[in-house]
């Protein structure tokens, strides 16, 4: 699937290809026309046609509309990973920032951008995505966004909440956490309830899962490799 650079000459390498995937044709077509004027090569694809697109050159970035009607996002992302290896996946969303960041982390998307921001912001994210794509390593697949508009699911947590969460991710029980931090079991429970509310998760399993997908690792004594 590495067709982008197989002998197309310097022009081919210069081609900035963005594939927009989604069913909201009206908005996405208008978006493609707009992006087309910024020097990008943009094409629009219905989610159901994703399989057919694998024959063409792989895009640098796939902009995936979260309002993709009728098809599960997870499945779409899996298909994009399969057919367009190496492409950055950017979610195009219209929801609230915290909900989005959680969704993006859960789905292992590389970045996200909201339609509720001005379109210049959207172009900036795609630019950043292109730069990231150029310097991409296999382990760099996580949300790279650090702008003020959209935050990581963990960014609203206090220091104390983060340390409690880290210990949970590390596999400690509430009693152990209480002992480690020198607080009561009841306080640990309260912290975790607040953490779950802030992260918009419904269970501890989901909390740990989202935390890990947001980049939190068990506090190791030795670095993992």
């Amino acid at each position: 699937m590495h067709l982008a650079r197989n002998g197309g000459g310097p022009l081919e390498a210069d081609q900035r290809r963005i594939l927009v995937v989604g069913a909201r044709t009206l908005y996405l077509q208008a978006l493609c026309e707009f992006l087309g004027t910024t020097g990008l090569s943009v094409s629009l694809l219905q989610p159901v046609k994703l399989r057919d697109s694998s024959l063409g050159p792989s895009p640098e970035i796939v902009l995936l509309d979260c309002a993709a009607a009728g098809v599960a996002l997870e499945q779409l992302i899996a298909e994009i990973r399969e057919f367009h290896k190496g492409a950055l996946i950017v979610l195009l969303t219209s929801g609230a920032a915290r909900e989005i960041s959680k969704q993006a982390a859960m789905l292992h998307a590389d970045d996200w951008v909201s339609m509720s921001l001005p379109v210049a912001e959207l172009v900036a994210v795609l630019d950043r995505g292109r730069r990231a794509s150029a310097a991409r390593t296999p382990s760099s697949r996580r949300p790279s966004r650090s702008g003020p508009a959209i935050e990581s699911p963990l960014s609203s947590l206090s220091e104390r909440e983060l340390s409690v969460l880290r210990l949970v991710v590390d596999g400690h029980s509430a009693d152990e956490i209480a002992a480690t931090l020198g607080i009561s079991r009841h306080t640990v429970r309260t912290h975790l309830q607040n953490v779950m509310a802030k992260m918009l998760v419904g269970s501890r399993m989901e909390m740990v899962s989202v935390a890990r997908k947001s980049g939190m690792r068990p506090a190791p004594t030795a670095p993992t490799s």
Binding site: R24, L26, F34
Partner: protein, 226 residues
């Protein structure tokens, strides 16, 4: 044949959506965008101030009530026509749009050129509904009409005394207060109110109130408190 240019104001909750629509529509011949706004009130104000031929309002975006925008624009009483953009196959929104006075309906699955066609169509005074949704729209409207007829019929089956009690129930009075006001025993009021709920086919006085207001029954039966 040269198209007459349709002037347009856009309204919707997402800046990026409006910006790209502004761009894509603005570059097509026969369309001139007069402005856009991300708030319902702002959109209505712009329509009032700039008198576009067509107002395009999105009804598929979160935290934004496109149907209210449509209603408010139509209330201005100006000749501006309204096109509502809704989700594909979203029959409920289509019916709400038609009830709110929309002249056209476009789904997000349509292309930009479909939208341009719709703009010109409603500008010429025609109505525009996606052909595939027309059947379900008509069925939906007929269904609404049937429900309405049934509601009227049920209300008509209430006796005079029951109607009096219903007015007080809907106003939120308790059984004792109603009894005093209408010179009845609380027991009789309770019997009346049980019969009212049964006849209207609802399960609570709250539901009864919703039923009455949804079908505008008091004013249609000449029962007014003013």
């Amino acid at each position: 044949m040269a198209l007459e240019t349709a002037t347009v104001v856009l309204g919707g909750g997402m800046p990026a959506v409006l910006e790209v629509l502004d761009f894509a529509l603005g570059r097509r011949p026969g369309v001139a965008i007069l402005g856009w706004d991300t708030s319902v009130q702002g959109t209505v104000d712009k329509v009032a101030a700039r008198s576009p031929d067509v107002a395009l309002v999105c009804a598929d975006l979160p935290d934004w009530d496109g149907i209210k925008a449509c209603t408010d624009i139509k209330r201005l009483g100006t000749p501006t026509r309204v096109i509502v953009v809704g989700s594909e196959g979203d029959q409920a929104t289509l019916i709400s749009a038609v009830k709110a006075g929309a002249d056209g309906y476009v789904t997000v699955a349509d292309s930009v050129d479909d939208l341009v066609g719709a703009l010109h169509q409603v500008h010429r005074g025609e109505s525009r509904v996606p052909p595939l949704m027309l059947g379900s729209l008509l069925r939906g409207l007929i269904e609404l009409r049937r429900e309405d007829d049934a509601a009227v019929e049920r209300f008509a089956s209430l006796g005079n005394r029951e109607r009096e009690v219903l007015v007080e129930l809907v106003a939120g009075l308790d059984h004792h207060t109603i009894a005093t006001k209408l010179h009845l025993s609380p027991h009789t009021v309770r019997t009346h109110s049980q019969n009212i709920l049964t006849k209207l086919g609802v399960h609570s006085r709250l539901e009864a109130a919703r039923f009455v207001f949804e079908h505008d029954l008091f004013s249609r039966f000449g029962i007014g408190d003013g």
